[in-house]
């Protein structure tokens, strides 16, 4: 048990450091997210994607879906707080923030976030202590995968 943990820590520490993060990037960036969130990683492989599940110490469950060629095409989170979304959404983070601002200027109101851009879908719901989010790049979903499978 102890040796497993040591190996995991060594693996995290020896990974190359890159400046950008996960969504839309190579699956190796998952390890950067694990390091940033100081979480525990579990990886499982299906026919059309590899699922990386990160459990953070603050109780947030993060999932990253990577295609067979190793590119992250979807992320979800569920928990009492948000994970580090700048890290998780990487190059898509600024588009997310801008889209939220635009939605909020239309008939001012508060509610869940639903953003449907041609190249980015963002859904965030819940409230403090119980947030849930789902973000994916539609064009990068494996052909055999349905949107409902991202959960």
């Amino acid at each position: 048990m102890k040796s497993t943990i040591t190996c995991a820590i060594v693996a995290i520490l020896t990974l190359p450091i890159s400046l950008s993060a996960s969504l839309g990037r190579d699956a190796t960036s998952v390890q950067e997210d694990v390091a940033k969130m100081q979480g525990a990683l579990r990886t499982s492989s299906g026919d059309s994607y590899t699922l990386h599940e990160i459990q953070t110490p603050t109780g947030v469950a993060v999932k990253e879906y990577a295609s067979p060629v190793g590119k992250v095409f979807a992320v979800t989170w569920k928990g009492p707080f948000h994970p580090d979304l700048r890290q998780l959404l990487g190059p898509y983070y600024d588009e997310y923030v801008q889209a939220v601002r635009t939605q909020r200027t239309q008939r001012s109101g508060r509610g869940p976030i639903l953003i449907q851009h041609p190249g980015l879908v963002i859904q965030v719901s819940g409230h403090l202590r119980s947030f849930a989010g789902r973000v994916y790049v539609p064009q990068q979903l494996p052909a055999s995968m349905r949107v409902e499978d991202i959960r």
Partner: protein, 412 residues
């Protein structure tokens, strides 16, 4: 679905009987006022649902289905160094009082933490965060007072360097345009905004509270007692929850008024009566809603701070979203739908709600109230303000005693 076991059947039955018989102030039940022999205080605050403080120029951005009220904040111990602020959103979906710095003209004492440095909070909302210092006020609303209440001042000019760990929560909501109100009065089921998690050290701390120096801000531990708190829990009486009463609405209206009544079963005007108590998951603040073939287990909530009923998606319910407002539904004619809510205590009840055409309902910019406003939602069932129309909705605070049982719960 697995068959119901006998003991499960009896516990459900018992829960149903309990739910049906709790009450206070009615015949056969005794009322215990937490204030003892003290005279009842005025516990009724008027709330208004209208286009709100963003409607006027220069923003010209009218709100829809947001309940506003006013609060008075004073420098602790003072009765003269006070300010009454209107346009405060009444939110059962969050705890704590937050006021825009731009709306505050008095100077309140700053809370300090490690090293005597000021404590500044980053509060995550669905789509972003509010950032600003934690200060202390005596808050008065109706005849109730919360003394030495930690509150958040949003968008203070003193703390403009937002740490990356905070700004990674999404969009900043630190001015009137982005917050949509002069402040938020959080009177939800939680007693504090963070709770035990923020008392933890290292990576277990979710990073809501910071101490700041001229060289930057660091995440700090924050005791539960120092956290931004639900003001109702700070009252000396009527402190176990709130009751929101709004009139029934048909279609769209410019404005309605209702009441935010403090306390549950503490005075003659806040009896549970025939309301059913739905207890909620104390860690998530959710209960369960069943709609057609979809069950939102521990993923449904009542939230006066959401401006519509947000659930499922256009394909599943067979109602299109609007062309412009893609976050609302636009059926060709108003639909009446049915759903069932279930508490953690097993209490359950079916209710009808309407989904109207949001383009029609909100087209006139003087409209501030719309029954039937609804939109899609991924992963949760959000019973926003239209749920409250024509109902008496009780929100009981966690760990507070009421004749309907221990909070947290909702009752209606």
């Amino acid at each position: 679905m697995k068959p119901l076991q006998l003991h499960e059947f009896f516990s459900l039955l018992l829960a149903g009987i309990l739910a049906a018989t709790v009450g206070c102030g009615g015949s056969g039940s005794s009322t215990s006022n937490s204030g003892g022999s003290t005279a009842p205080v005025n516990n009724v605050q008027t709330i208004t649902v209208n286009t709100g403080p963003t409607a006027a120029p220069p923003l010209n951005s009218p709100a829809i289905n947001e309940a506003f009220t006013s609060v008075t904040v004073c420098v602790p111990g003072s009765t003269t160094n006070c300010q009454t602020i209107s346009g405060i959103l009444v939110d059962t979906g969050s705890p704590g009082l937050r006021i825009l710095s731009s709306a505050l003209t008095i100077s309140l004492p700053q809370q300090t933490g490690a090293g005597g440095n000021p404590v500044v909070e980053c509060l995550p909302f669905i789509d972003g965060f509010t950032w600003g210092p934690v200060q202390t006020a005596d808050m008065t609303i109706a005849g109730e007072q919360a003394k030495n209440l930690p509150i958040q001042i949003i968008g203070s000019a003193t703390f403009t360097n937002i740490p990356t760990s905070c700004s990674s929560n999404g969009a900043e909501e630190d001015d009137l345009a982005s917050l949509g109100a002069n402040g938020i009065l959080g009177v939800g089921t939680f007693a504090q905004d963070c709770g035990d998690a923020c008392t933890l050290t290292g990576s277990n701390n979710p990073g809501l509270y910071y101490t700041c120096t001229s060289s930057g801000c660091q995440v700090t531990t924050e005791s539960v007692a120092n956290q931004v708190a639900n003001p109702v829990a700070f009252f000396t009486t009527d402190n176990n929850g709130v009751l929101i009463e709004l009139p029934a609405v048909t279609g769209a209206e410019t404005s309605i008024t209702g009441s935010l009544i403090f306390g549950i079963c503490t005075q003659s005007n806040n009896a549970l009566g025939s309301a059913t108590v739905y207890t909620i998951d104390p860690s998530t603040g959710n209960f369960t809603t069943r709609f057609n073939n979809t069950t939102f287990t521990d993923a449904s909530f009542l939230d006066s701070g959401s401006n519509a009923i947000y659930f499922l998606d256009a394909t599943t319910i067979g109602i299109p979203t609007c062309t412009g407002f893609t976050f609302w539904y636009c059926p060709t004619s108003t639909q009446t739908l049915s759903a069932a809510n279930q508490g953690a205590n097993g209490a359950s009840g079916t209710l009808n709600f309407t989904v109207g055409n949001a383009d029609t309902l909100t087209g006139n910019l003087t409209i501030g109230v719309a029954d039937g406003l609804a939109g899609p939602n991924s992963g949760a069932f959000d019973w926003g303000l239209p749920f409250f129309f024509g109902r008496h909705v009780f929100t009981a605070i966690e760990n507070q005693n009421t004749p309907g049982g221990l909070g947290p719960y909702w009752a209606y």
